[in-house]
């Protein structure tokens, strides 16, 4: 039983990872350290920093995010990430898809409760 749940959690985490990164960048551009920290602090997501950097690299190659380097007053230069137009569209699609699924699932639950 626990194995099944653990496996399900891993699948959900994997599935939701890109959405999480893109959502973190939806409202503003963030530099890598800040971005990674904000994601790793999401409770239950259980993702390490070392996992996120390869994902960011892949998203950049896929054209969903763009990067730029800016000097920092307190430490090494910061690598800023921002959503591209494709990244925004993808995020909207993911959002809508997830909403649709969840609405459907909730609708099933509501119907069950009505019965």
């Amino acid at each position: 039983m626990q194995d099944i749940f653990d496996n399900w959690i891993i699948q959900v985490r994997k599935g939701i990872l890109e959405l999480t990164v893109l959502t973190a960048l939806a409202d503003k551009d963030r530099y890598a350290y800040e971005l990674v920290k904000s994601i790793t602090q999401i409770p239950g997501l259980g993702i390490s920093e070392g996992t996120i950097y390869p994902l960011l690299s892949r998203l950049r190659v896929q054209g969903l995010v763009a990067t730029r380097l800016e000097e920092s007053p307190e430490g090494p230069a910061r690598k800023y990430y921002s959503l591209t137009k494709e990244g925004k569209e993808t995020l909207h699609m993911m959002d809508a898809y997830l909403d649709s699924i969840l609405k459907g699932v909730h609708a099933l639950r509501n119907r069950k409760e009505e019965k």
Binding site: K14, G15, L17, E18, A32, Y33, V36, S48, E49, G50, T51, Y53, P54, L55, L56, S57, R58, L59, R60, V61, Q62, G63, L64, E74, G75, P76, A77, R78, K79, E86, G87, E89, T90, H92, M93, M94, D95, A96, Y97, D99, S100, A107
Partner: protein, 876 residues
């Protein structure tokens, strides 16, 4: 600066190597990730503010960091939303239920049906156009307005039944509908209160609310499209702004000319010259000429209920006609607004002839046209005199409205109308000649009773106004004949010239195919550059054929006749009941001395002059004359230059923008003042048509009244059309027209040559003699010479400006049956009408004819002789 110990450095390198191994197994850029990780570690250690990073510190950081995993799932590759959406399958959507609710009903009723009904109602009745403004002035407006219901219906169906089309397309079209509906809502905003009141209290006026209600419907459609977009994994409906921009922007662009026309009109009637000029600039460059033309014809924005949202309703059509001339350089009645289903205007206004029985030609009327035109003329070369009969047939194709045909005819220079005939029931009815006001009064009174009159009165020098009423409706016709006696203009002692008469201004249609049939006979060889056929038999010469109206309107449309240069004096006589009037005509010519000391050339800078300005500049700058020349450009601002400075002259013309029509009156006054400083000067006015004057002509008239021998005004018109300035100067003897016979360049050369004395000027002097003084050794000429003498005498008597002089002038004109400034000719229907106005139609035996009576007699005698010889030969 943080320093790493060797142990820390070693740990990092181990981590780095291991991470690279893992990353190299994937398609991830290992260098980038490792750089990112190093930057992360440095940032983290920097945040801890460690001066020395030990192996222990590094271990803690790396443990938390964890080695990178290369098997993170790939993100979906972006593609078109529809293609990438697993949800766009034909399935029932949960929001369908919403469309069956009130929103769906609203969309269909107010977003689809109401706009269609409103557009149909407006197109059929033109109610809004009549009372407020025209919301559908062009087919483009109709199309754009109908996009609102069409796209609303499309949006409704897309949501209700699902769509195979891209949501982008539907979103774009909905954007257009919203743009259109918002535009019309704003446009109708001023009349929304009226519509609201009408709907509330009378249950009418829903059409006025159609834009607002359909705009709301568009927004409801938009809201539902958001649901469709969400189902296609889009956060919002795409392409709203491009669609909105198209819908709103195109309508905005379409209305801009009309908007500028209204603004420009309001400015152009300002009393402040600066504002007026800015208004004219706006109108010349950005206005809708069609809008202005419709306003000239009263077919647009005439508010029967006094509601005007443009603020221009109180501007009279006469003022707008003047503005139209200043904007376009043309008289408004050179064309008529297009009529179509959309532009049919207000039928009751459009069919109304505001100028009927008035003193002006006015606007062109629908369905009234000149269907036949015939000119027959006889020229007597040696006497340099001629007579021409112009028969015109008008046809009225209006189904029920009788029409008055009006036109202003430009006579040959020095010509006078000496016969007027109207065909009533197939019978030729000759006119009565009487005092100007007497004949006008008779005409107006009969027109009011809708009977058959025709009236001819002068309309300035060498111009007459012809009015005939009624041209019967339903393809009825009216036939009139105008007889004109005229002198020939001598180009040289061997050649005389007839400048053909033409219609200067008219209220009827003349299709481009309209032809005038010409048949001109003379006692000398004839020639013309009009493609006519020349014939000659036994000393009689003829030229005949058909010319188009465009040919006739050319300023140099003329016929030349060769004459005997030895004949310099002729005599003529006319028999009346109890007397014979004999006239001696002698030819004088001037050559060898300049006629003037100074010339002031006024050049009109209206639009139609642009094509002539090079010729004018070339002639003026190459002149070799003995008198001084100043140039005045009749521009919006007066500018003068001396002839000697060619560069200044070029600058003067260059600065003139040749746009629209210019008010030449101030320039003429200015030129008169310059010319009057010399004892013997002339103002030479080179101009296009001048259909309007904007100030009183009194300042110019006053100058000649105070100085009757002041500067002479010689005017040369370059294009056909009315000239109200010259009309207003009627009776001033110093005003003279230069008879055109060739290109403008050649004519100007001839004029300046004549003024300089290098080209001979021929002038006929006619004087009355006693019949007993007739020198029968001299050649007898046509009796038209007597009519021309009488016409000159009328002008002389009239110039005396005394009551006795006026009465005498009128008596002479009536006696000789002439249309002059003091007399007119009118044909009435019956004897009772003549009696009522104390008029008598002329005896048909006394009117001039073609062929002339003398010719008929000669032909008769010739015929008898021919028959006699034929019989004799036959007997032999």
């Amino acid at each position: 600066m943080t320093r790493w110990t060797n142990g820390a450095e070693e740990l990092w390198q181990q981590f780095r190597n291991e991470a690279r191994k893992r990353l190299n197994q994937s398609d991830i850029d290992a260098d980038e990730v490792l750089d990112d990780l190093q930057r992360h570690i440095e940032t983290e250690l920097n945040a801890q503010k460690l001066e020395v990073v030990t192996a222990e510190d590094m271990k803690k950081v790396l443990n938390r960091l964890e080695l990178p995993q290369a098997n993170t799932p790939k993100a979906p590759v972006p593609a078109s939303p529809a293609a990438s959406s697993p949800v766009i399958e034909k399935q029932k959507l949960p929001y369908h239920a919403m469309l069956s609710s009130l929103g769906g009903f609203y969309i269909i009723v107010f977003g689809v049906l109401l706009p269609v009904a409103a557009a149909t109602f407006e197109l059929l009745t033109r109610l809004c156009s009549t009372v407020f403004f025209d919301p559908l002035p062009t087919i483009w407006h109709v199309g754009l307005f109908l996009m609102i219901p069409v796209f609303n219906l499309g949006g409704y169906c897309a949501v209700k039944y699902g769509t195979k089309d891209s949501i982008r397309k539907v979103g774009f079209l909905n954007g257009i509908a919203i743009g259109n509906a918002l535009f019309y809502t704003l446009w109708f905003l001023p009349i929304l209160p009226f519509s609201g009141i009408a709907v509330t209290f009378m249950g009418l006026g829903l059409c006025g609310l159609a834009p607002l209600l359909s705009f709301i419907a568009c927004l409801i459609v938009r809201k539902r499209l958001h649901l469709l977009a969400a189902a296609q994994n889009l956060r919002k409906v795409p392409l709203f702004w491009p669609g909105f921009g198209c819908g709103f922007g195109i309508l905005l662009l379409l209305i801009v000319p009309a908007l500028f026309s209204v603004i420009g009109l309001n400015m152009a009637v300002s009393v402040q010259p600066a504002v007026q000029n800015r208004g004219l600039w706006l109108l010349r460059n950005f206005s809708s000429k069609r809008y202005l033309l419709e306003r000239c014809y009263n077919t647009r924005n005439v508010k029967p209920f006094g509601i005007d949202i443009t603020g221009t309703a109180d501007i009279s059509s006469e003022k707008i006609r003047g503005i139209y001339y200043r904007v376009t350089g043309k008289s408004f009645n050179t064309e008529r607004p297009r009529t179509s289903f959309l532009h049919r205007g207000n039928a009751w206004i459009d069919d109304w002839d505001f100028e009927q029985a008035g003193d002006v030609v006015g606007g062109q009327l629908r369905n009234l046209s000149l269907v036949s035109s015939q000119m027959d003329a006889n020229l007597q070369a040696d006497g340099a005199v001629g007579y021409l009969e112009w028969i015109m047939v008008f046809q009225n194709d209006h189904l029920w409205t009788e029409r008055e045909a009006r036109c202003q005819v430009q006579l040959p220079p020095g010509g006078v109308v000496s016969r007027l005939t109207l065909w009533i029931d197939g019978q030729e009815c000759e006119a009565a000649f009487g005092g100007r006001e007497q004949t006008k009064g008779a005409y107006k009174s009969v027109v009011q009773r809708r009977r058959d009159p025709v009236l001819v009165t002068t309309k300035g020098p060498d111009q007459v106004l012809v009015q005939c009423f009624p041209v019967p409706s339903n393809s009825g016709k009216m036939k009139v004949r105008l007889g004109i006696s005229f002198p020939l203009d001598l180009v040289s002692s061997e050649e005389a010239l007839l400048q053909l008469p033409y219609i200067n201004e008219r209220n009827f249609q003349m299709p481009p195919t309209t032809e005038h049939r010409l048949w001109i006979e003379a006692d000398g060889p004839l020639s013309a550059k009009l493609g006519l056929t020349a014939e000659s038999t036994e000393g009689k010469y003829a030229i005949r054929g058909a010319v188009t109206n465009a040919q006739l309107e050319q300023q140099a449309a003329s016929v030349r006749v060769t004459r005997n240069p030895q004949v310099s004096s002729v005599w003529a006589k006319r028999e009346f009941d109890n007397e014979t009037v004999a006239v001696l005509q002698q030819l004088h010519n001037n050559k060898g001395r300049a006629l003037i000391e100074k010339a002031v050339v006024v050049v009109d800078t209206s639009k139609s002059m642009a094509s002539h300005i090079t010729d004018i500049a070339n002639v003026i700058t190459t002149l070799n004359v003995d008198f001084n020349i100043d140039i005045v450009a009749a521009n919006d601002t007066l500018k003068t230059t001396a002839f000697a400075d060619k560069n200044e002259l070029k600058k003067l013309f260059h600065k003139s923008n040749f746009k629209g029509g210019k008010d030449n009156l101030p320039a003429l006054v200015h030129a008169w003042d310059i010319a009057s400083q010399s004892a013997n000067a002339a103002v030479i006015w080179i101009h296009s048509a001048q259909p309007h004057i904007f100030d009183e002509v009194d300042p110019l008239v006053q100058r000649w009244n105070r100085r009757p021998d002041g500067p002479k005004l010689i005017h040369i018109q370059t294009s056909p059309g009315p000239n109200v300035v010259i009309e207003s100067l009627d009776g001033i003897q110093q005003v003279d027209v230069f008879s055109r016979s060739a290109s403008l360049k050649d004519d100007l050369g001839r004029l300046f040559g004549q003024l300089n004395g290098t080209v001979p000027t021929y002038k006929f002097v006619r004087q009355e003699i006693l019949p007993t003084q007739i020198d029968t050794s001299m050649k007898q000429a046509s009796s038209h010479i007597v009519r021309l003498w009488a016409n000159e005498k009328v002008q002389t008597m009239r110039a005396k400006r005394s009551n006795a002089g006026q009465s005498e002038a009128k008596a002479i004109a009536v006696k000789h049956q002439l249309v002059t400034p003091v007399s007119g000719a009118v044909v009435l229907e019956n004897a009772e009408q003549y009696d009522q106005h104390d008029l008598r139609p002329v005896d048909p035996e006394t009117v001039p004819t073609i062929p002339e009576p003398a010719t008929i007699m000669l032909l008769g005698v010739g015929g008898l002789i021919a028959v006699h010889f034929r019989k004799k030969t036959h007997r032999q």
